[in-house]
């Protein structure tokens, strides 16, 4: 059975007013344990609405969210337990830091789960080790850190709850290239260490190509595609029709093919591109 199931999810904003509008409509999908899923779609396509349902911040207007075969809204009093199992890192998470020290801020989530003493301490120190928050930072004020470090600490604050599923909404927004790489590394490190399922919402096709096993494409609140990254990116025309695109390297390679160069279609990352081109150069020399 899938770890997380979305069944016929519809969410309408506006209640009974004349401005009712379905932010997401009739979405069904299964998410398996350990997958990395990317969610793409242009602005206003319902990405944020969808992910806020997965941890119970929003309640479905219609349909169900099943976590390990149990409806998360079965007992509304227990919804906070769901939130520690399904972590959600919002866009610009550094704006939610509030504690006096980095340590206390990271401990906020696990404390809310009812942990204390050694167990709490172990959690905080473990997560700092996994994603590289330096020990010397722990007693500093989070407001004294640089932008990139603040984000790392804010992400650690959610990861310290050790959610089985962790969702990132635009985790790389507003960061320089080095910062983007760091965040992607943090996500990969957490996943390797815990085997968690990861869901990433992003506008960057390049990030998606580096991270995601499967891509979920939303268009105007509806599920457009949900398939492996290769399959989705091989549908360039369909993506362009809804205002999205394939990674730049893929476009470059498509142009090369148009010019008669024999290169494969399934190149989505720069690393892969370099590898393919080196091989080609080797063939020529030989």
């Amino acid at each position: 059975m899938a770890l997380l199931q979305v069944k016929n999810l519809t969410h309408s904003y506006g209640g009974s007013s004349p401005f009712v509008h379905d932010a997401v409509s009739n979405i069904s999908l299964d998410i398996e344990k350990g997958e990395i899923i990317g969610i793409i779609g242009h602005t206003g396509s319902g990405k944020s609405t969808l992910v806020q349902h997965l941890n119970g911040l929003l309640k479905p207007t219609e349909g169900q969210i099943l976590l390990e075969d149990k409806d998360i809204w079965e007992n509304p009093k227990e919804i906070r337990k769901v939130r520690s199992k399904v972590g959600l890192v919002f866009q610009y998470p550094e704006y939610q830091l509030f504690e006096e020290t980095v340590y206390a801020d990271i401990a906020f989530g696990p404390k809310n789960m009812g942990l204390s003493g050694n167990e709490l301490d172990k959690r905080v120190r473990d997560i700092c080790r996994i994603i590289g928050v330096k020990d010397e930072y722990l007693n500093k004020s989070p407001f004294d850190l640089s932008g990139g470090e603040k984000r790392r600490v804010a992400i650690a604050g959610v990861m310290a709850m050790y959610p089985q599923i962790i969702i990132f909404d635009e985790p790389t927004a507003g960061l320089d290239p080095a910062g983007r790489e760091t965040v992607i590394k943090i996500i990969n490190d957490y996943r390797r260490e815990t085997g968690a399922t990861v869901i990433v919402v992003s506008h960057s096709m390049e990030d998606m190509a580096m991270l995601a096993d499967k891509l979920l494409v939303l268009n105007d609140g509806k599920l457009e595609m949900f398939d492996s990254t290769e399959k989705v990116f091989s549908n360039g025309d369909r993506l362009r029709k809804i205002g999205l695109n394939v990674p730049i390297v893929t476009r470059v390679f498509a142009q090369l093919r148009n010019l008669g160069v024999d290169v494969p279609e399934d190149v989505f990352t720069v690393e892969k591109a370099v590898e393919v081109l080196k091989k080609k150069a080797g063939e020529k020399n030989a």
Partner: protein, 270 residues
């Protein structure tokens, strides 16, 4: 949720009341309130009430909008009326006595007057806020206070008006920000709905601190953006939208003062 709260309750419309100059509206609001409180017999109060209902009708704002404002303040009206019932002159006739409290006809009469006045006051001020945008209101206040610059408060008036405008502008932004932060902390397991008073107050800290920081950040950004556009206070500043006192406004003033005169006449004659 939070965004359902309305601040500044402008109701889109095209009525003569909407079109009246906001400065005139503010002055006339004050005048109307004075007249309503001057009315001291049944005839003048009824006349004042009729005038206010006419104003509400002309404003084109649905009656239920006015009722909504009244509902919020109803407990205060009932309380005031209730207290007044006991404060009448005993010579006007005793209705009944309980323990040391005496309800008199005079008291009931007083209570009725008090309640009517407060209700009319609410209606008059609602008519102003429903028909005037918050920006027009601050503009008008700035203009009305401008004589203060002759008594050494030259920049104060402009600064006050600018502060009001900025405050109104940022209320929706901050509400949105609050919602975001609340969601983010809820996602970290914060419990905002349960617990006793102390726990609930404590639960606000993770929301208030980030909100305060972001408000300060925003104000720095705004200050820089304003300086980049050469803002240096009110001196020599002109307005894109000039307020014009037109024929319509003189008529509005005339009507309101005529109403006032009739109320005073009714007071004296009857």
């Amino acid at each position: 949720m939070l965004k359902d709260i309305t601040f500044g309750q402008y109701y889109e419309g095209n009525s003569p009341v909407h079109k009246t100059d906001p400065r005139a509206k503010i002055v006339l609001l004050i005048a109307m309130i004075v007249f309503v409180f001057l009315a001291n017999n049944i005839f003048s109060v009824v006349f004042a009430a009729l005038s206010v209902f006419t104003l509400m009708y002309i404003s084109g704002v649905p009656l239920r909008m006015y009722a909504k404002n009244l509902k919020a303040i109803l407990p205060i009206i009932i309380f005031t009326a209730f207290i007044n019932v006991f404060y009448g002159d005993k010579n006007t006739g005793i209705v009944f006595e309980v323990w040391k409290l005496t309800v008199t006809w005079g008291g009931i009469y007083r209570a009725f007057f008090m309640a009517t006045r407060i209700i009319l006051l609410i209606f008059i001020s609602s008519a102003l806020t429903y028909t005037t945008t918050p920006n027009d209101l601050t503009d008008a206040i700035e203009r009305l206070l401008s004589p203060l610059k002759y008594v050494g408060l030259k920049s104060a008036v402009h600064i006050l008006a600018m502060m009001m405008t900025i405050t109104l502008r940022f209320i929706p932004t901050l509400i949105e920000e609050t919602e975001k932060i609340m969601n983010a902390q809820k996602a970290r397991g914060a419990d905002l709905e349960n617990g006793n008073l102390k726990q609930r107050v404590k639960a606000l800290i993770p929301i208030l601190i980030p909100l305060l920081i972001s408000a300060i950040r925003r104000s720095y950004e705004l200050a820089e953006a304003m300086e980049c556009r050469c803002y240096n206070g009110g001196e020599g500043r002109q307005r894109m939208k000039q307020l014009h006192f037109s024929f319509r406004d003189y008529i509005a003033c005339g009507v309101v003062f005529a109403v006032g005169a009739v109320i005073i006449l009714l007071n004296i004659l009857l």
